[in-house]
Subunit: 620 residues, 2 copies
């Protein structure tokens, strides 16, 4: 195609962006129009992608970090003849896969974007995957808006791509000057972006983003650049090509008022199919050696105290020897989370994210785009730094295994900044999440195999379970019971051990209690809880090293809220910002130690049965 | 003091850091030792701070972004004779104010740090406050570790400080090369930090961080620099001064094995009081004009539909005219959250954070350090980007008012990336938070006055309340009731309006129901819920535009879990990742519309009374 023909393709991308938004009566056509020339050149001359085979491992990847330019994404699919015009015009209709922001419901979309500053870090993860895991020559292109360059996560990615010398990564910044409500921080100062990227080790090229020849030269130069990623910083005009919108403020996120006029100004260009080049390579992704016969670690019952975080690291190390698809990423605390255990045998599959938790999750999301199974670990408190990335990963249907160590006040002297007291609520409140919280090293190892999200404790805890016991997601363990239990105590992690101490004290008073290890916080084992409620007169004490909201207590109460026999539940949880101290001091101070459990259980015994036995009592 | 005397002060700071960690048997002495010379020069020659009057508005500010160097923080307080040696040695003991990481429990500490990458952005907020709000010449110093320079939040702050030309801000980077588990991304490559800061508009100075004269010249040069913030990038040695620790790997976060030997190597320097210069200025903070007689906006009952987000903006605009201490910050969506309403009359108190939510919260935290009352707003979904900052703000006892707009699936066509479905769980699960969720514009305005966290809805909703009604935190409103209500429906925001529609339908069937507006999600109005449970046979339907976990449903169930009369609660919530569509389509698809409420209520009616009336029924 000639440059003029490519210009016509770009005009048609603009027309289709306008048409999609007009059909939806909403959307972001102006943000699409600024980048149409950039994307037209890319798809006609540089991208290698087989739209009929999106799973081809040799395909390049194109991730729209500016996900709101979804009309352009879909117009490109239409240009490649991957979708019909009817598909395009179903944009934003209920039930359509062509949503307001792109999601992987569509086979050509790697990840959901729309929360700005995420697509570019994830693209960096995919580019790292090409080099370090797949070992294939595919390239990764990502289109950023200029507004999102204000997100720190972008600069975490710039650092990581630079340090890793990812010359298979090309970031295109669509500097159209106008954000949602006015000019961006830097307007058309292209240098402000380029200089920072250069400081991070990137090759940069500043261009006119509407000049087909310049764009083409930039992509060619990017391809020829080795040892460094390339950032193409393009000066563009928002709403380019239509007098109603070109460089006009207040036009963000709105369909055009007069789409017909704009389409006419754009030359009424008819649709033409773009034959996107297919990947030349036919390589297969690298596979790492594995040996499924490697045993999982086993811990002696009643032996030395082993922190669940150490069991996590040792379990993960064994799992990575057993399975070649599993990889580990850590936020520069691998000697605390114990992911460093994997360095002994599988160092090629360990990735250091440094203190950049957003980039850690982005890397994991990027890896799973290509089918790898990533585990990412940091202190549970610091997963809050990347919560928006995990939120978006849920929309991406991404398979992530996250481990948060140092849960709750039990960490002791380091103080509240290091204590996760909201992590259970955070992760429970995400659509398809699973939340696990082991109390024993053998259990931890078993759950590592099954895990999606694992919470681990800093301190050593006694081993409760033999190495052959199985633990399924959605299960629980009744760790103590008798025929005349009067109360059910429920805990996980450190509070389970406190519950067991409380059970000993209560037994000394002649009060038998049931103790449940609720290691699967979500999904929760409703059946076991229900049976315990019936058996113990509907008297529950739930103890958690967490704020009272959104954690284990509410999981238990919710599970039985719409049933005939709703237990009376005393919830013991952290209710003030803790300070520093030893674990036992803090558990006591927060009212979540054995003493507090004993007091709560005694009160319930005095109150008498709350269900089931109540009827029996009043009948008797 | 001579340079040699300052060196001796630095040695004593090291000795006291070692002693504090030795007394605690934990802590971070080596991270303190690398920065001791930098801090000794600062406090002897450049800082202007009255330790006897920490509330003096002319004091400089010193924020340890590397909060784990708390032994050095406390050693400095000791050097200034602000604390006793016994205080210093109570480090990390239970009940001591000298916690593992510094918190504002101590009067000389502005904010809690310990989650890396936060102190520097907050310092930027304080420096902006000096210029734009207080209008005082105090300066802000912040000490960063090199590991934390990997956090994107640091670079958000670099951008903001650069663009705002904050020459009253000095960032000192303690490049001791070693992170927690080995070398940092850039080791001793000082340029890697300096070049990026220069690209962001900073003046930078690279020095040997143990050379007293060089350090002194750098601070002097920083003070003389106008129009730009200064970053002093200092090459240092972790654990400097003791052979056990100097530049030795594996010594992070550990007390010394032989503290006596190290103290001897450091010259057994005795404690000497440092007379820190007091601020020269006696200015008072600028105060903005206000007029308490400006009325709050009022909306006509039954008038045009007004989105609660618009009422938020208009309410905030009025509040800022009434109160000079209130300021607004927005994440570049002010035309959606409607904070732009404040531009009409109080543009000097509006701050644009661009798409940098972490910096938005850091700015707010920085402003409240100096006594201002900040409101920060973005889409509720994007508050998840700065969750760790809000988590730490709780530990800082910071007063923040956050508004999240565009709550839930009710936003419609933009799709799930823009929908807040986890925000209630997020904010409920934070120690001292208050969570509000208005359903009406007049109510919104009243709550803006009282608010800490406000959730608002994108779409217009009918006006339910007259402008004179009062709404208190911890309250609720029974919006419909009769003498023979059979079920209680509970909602907030859009779901309250669906509940009212459902109530109409049910009334048509002869089923009266009570409807509660649970606008105060935390704290929750237990009394009204309890009364409703008794009056409606313990039958509740709770409807929320949120995931099932951690939101309104669990707030209601938890509130009555440890009472005699525990209602049966049907929880209607979003249970799958929604797509795009119109509000009504999505509410229906997610089973949280009036139809779903009617179905749930009918089922409860058929089940019969669950408490109270049940006894009556079986007695009768």
């Amino acid at each position: 195609m000639t440059n003029e023909e490519i210009h016509q393709i770009a005009q048609r991308l603009r027309i289709d962006s306008i048409r999609a938004a007009a059909a939806a009566s909403s959307g972001h056509p102006t943000s699409s129009m600024s980048a149409a020339d950039l994307m037209a050149v890319l798809m006609v001359r540089h991208l290698r992608y087989d739209y009929s085979s999106p799973e081809n491992p040799n395909n390049d990847h194109l991730i729209f970090s500016k996900g709101h330019a979804s009309p352009l994404v879909y117009a490109m699919f239409r240009a490649a003849d991957a979708i019909t015009d009817g598909d395009l015009l179903s944009f934003r209709q209920f039930g359509s896969k062509f949503e307001g922001h792109p999601t992987p419901i569509l086979p050509w979309v790697d990840v959901a974007t729309g929360s700005l500053g995420q697509g570019m870090p994830i693209a960096t993860g995919v580019a790292l995957c090409a080099r370090a895991l797949d070992r294939l020559p595919y390239r990764v292109f990502t289109l950023c808006g200029d507004s999102e360059m204000a997100e720190g996560s972008i600069w975490e990615a710039v650092e990581h791509a630079g340090v890793n010398g990812l010359d298979n990564l090309v970031t295109i910044v669509d500097v159209n000057r106008l954000g949602q409500r006015g000019e961006t921080m830097h307007g058309w100062n292209l240098d402000s972006y380029a200089k920072r990227a250069e400081a991070g080790g990137w090759h940069t090229i500043e261009i006119d983003g509407h000049d087909i020849a310049e764009i083409d030269r930039a992509f060619t130069e990017a391809e020829a650049t080795t040892g460094r990623p390339t950032m193409i910083v393009a000066r563009t005009i928002k709403g380019y090509g239509a007098s109603e919108t070109a460089n006009v403020e207040g036009k963000h996120g709105q369909p055009l008022k007069d789409p017909e006029k704009a389409i006419h100004e754009l030359g009424d260009v008819a649709w033409t199919k773009v034959d996107v080049a297919k990947p030349e390579g036919t390589g297969t992704p690298h596979r790492f050696e594995a040996d499924a016969s490697i045993p999982l670690p086993a811990y002696e019952l009643g032996g030395d105290k082993v922190p669940t975080r150490l069991a996590f690291g040792q379990g993960l190390a064994a799992l990575m020897r057993r399975r070649g698809d599993v990889v580990a990423i850590d936020g520069e605390v691998g000697n605390s989370t114990h992911t460093e255990e994997v360095l002994k045998h599988t160092p090629e599959r360990f990735f250091e994210a440094y203190i950049a938790e957003q980039m850690m999750i982005a890397t994991a999301v990027g890896f799973q785009v290509r089918g790898w199974t990533p585990f990412a670990a940091t202190f549970a408190a610091f997963h809050s730094r990347s919560y928006d990335f995990v939120r978006m990963a849920v929309i991406s249907q991404a398979k992530l295994c996250l481990n948060g160590s140092h849960a709750g006040v039990s960490i002791g002297e380091d103080g509240p900044s290091q204590m996760a007291l909201e992590d259970l609520a955070e992760f429970r409140a995400l659509g398809s999440s699973v939340v696990l919280y082991p109390s024993d090293p053998n259990q931890t190892v078993k759950l590592v195999e099954a895990m999606a999200d694992l919470r681990s404790t800093r301190s050593g805890l006694p081993t409760l379970y033999g190495p052959d016991e199985e633990f399924k997601i959605g299960g629980s363990r009744v760790v103590r019971e008798s025929d005349d239990d009067q109360v059910t105590l429920i805990g996980a992690g450190v509070t389970l051990h406190e519950a067991l101490k409380a059970a000993d004290t209560l037994a000394g008073d002649g009060v038998n209690v049931r103790v449940i290890d609720l290691y699967s916080v979500k999904p929760v084992d409703v059946e076991t809880l229900s049976a315990a409620s019936s058996a113990t007169g509907g008297r529950f004490v739930v103890v958690e090293d967490h704020w009272p909201e959104g954690g284990i207590g509410e999981a238990v109460i919710s599970a039985l809220a719409d049933t005939d026999e709703r237990p009376r539940v005393v919830k013991l949880a952290v209710t003030h910002v803790p300070g520093s101290g030893k674990m036992a001091e803090l558990l006591h101070d927060c009212g979540i130690d054995a003493d507090a459990i004993v007091t709560a259980a005694r009160r319930l015994v005095e109150l008498g049965p709350q269900i089931g036995r109540a009827a029996a009592a009043s009948a008797g």
